[in-house]
Symmetry: C2
Amino acid sequence: MTEVIEGLVPITRRTTSSLIVDQLRERIVDGTFPPGSQMAEAQLAATFGISRGPVREALQRLVQEGLLVNIKNRGVFVIELGPGDLADVCLSRRLIERKAASLLWKSKDERHLSRLAAAAGELAAAEGESWARIVELDLAFHEILVASAESPRLSRMFATLAAETRIGLATRPDVGRRPAELAAEHRTLVELLRDGTERRLLAAVDAHLDATLRQLTDA
Amino acid sequence: MTEVIEGLVPITRRTTSSLIVDQLRERIVDGTFPPGSQMAEAQLAATFGISRGPVREALQRLVQEGLLVNIKNRGVFVIELGPGDLADVCLSRRLIERKAASLLWKSKDERHLSRLAAAAGELAAAEGESWARIVELDLAFHEILVASAESPRLSRMFATLAAETRIGLATRPDVGRRPAELAAEHRTLVELLRDGTERRLLAAVDAHLDATLRQLTDA
DNA sequence: GCGCTGTAAGCTGTCAACAATCCGAATGAC
DNA sequence: GTCATTCGGATTGTTGACAGCTTACAGCGC
């Protein structure tokens, strides 16, 4: 029997396309590739120094995630989120996040609550940071909230919604909402999760997402 | 100015891989490829009479949908749904379908209501049909329900959940639930949507999904 | 007999080249 | 000047071949 040696971690080489996916997703949500811009396969392949195959695969995966759209024989383009799309994103996010909040409020699982509190704290501490950083921390909080439901499917759905939110927020100017205000809202959510009523908690979730939607739509 | 001629529909030649996707998805959900079985690229390519490229692309898309899992350097396999997965599917379905039912109950949009009634009727008329056909009609009803929310994202999420449900139901024997019973439940839902209270409607949705989950899990 | 090592087969991951398609500018007719 | 047509460039869709990884089995030493 082969024994497992302590201290040595098994190497897990990821596939090329999955590395490309991560890089491209990051660039899409942070606005490097603005909505509507074309993702040319050959150009990307040359940039990464690899063949078109893995690039093509990565693009297909992002299309499936909903961040890119594929027009046959034309190419893939970054989605352009219209007002209807933004409202739809918020509708979907509200559905998922209300459920997650409700579950966590019932379970009061301290492991998740403390992680959320930590995320809210990071957001509060990021007062002077860049707008992109603020958005990143904001959505990290919400991702933890959804993850607390311990539902792989809800988390997977939310991942795309979060990415779309980031796309929407990336192009917005950093005016509109002050980081301090945002941090306060998140801290309120944590407090209500700990010892608020369920009604007030869900109302706060709704209000928070409504504020985000307002910021996304009036531009 | 080129005029548009009535009665002629624009031809939309789909890409090869998307055709493959549809065929494979159908075969996966109907149990032709049982959970755990490997989808060998070369073999499929030979079967379809095309190259490995489009097949590979189709498989990647199904992986992204969640119907297949990709093990690096090993291949892609049909997902095996454990009890936890089935519960998760039902949790997610409940969330989405409750929302859709609630929205339709509020709007009372006759266009959607009549389509739902028609779907329920088809289910009732399929008394003697095969189990696969029953399941297909069942999920068609639920797809219409979700579509009535007119949320592209909710519909897209639901598509995967419906496929997973079909995978789960495909391997179940057709015992357990009589078609007549199923049809009655759907008809009840339509009636409650039309003139029931919201509470009773949502309770009926829950009960219906609970019954499905029970059928999926005790096998 | 038991365990380890080397080898073979099959599969996926990647690459470079070819074919098909679409868009846009230049050209010509009215 | 305006419209229709044609041609060229660029990009995607598809193909076949090669390299790398994983697994299973046979061979060897103990």
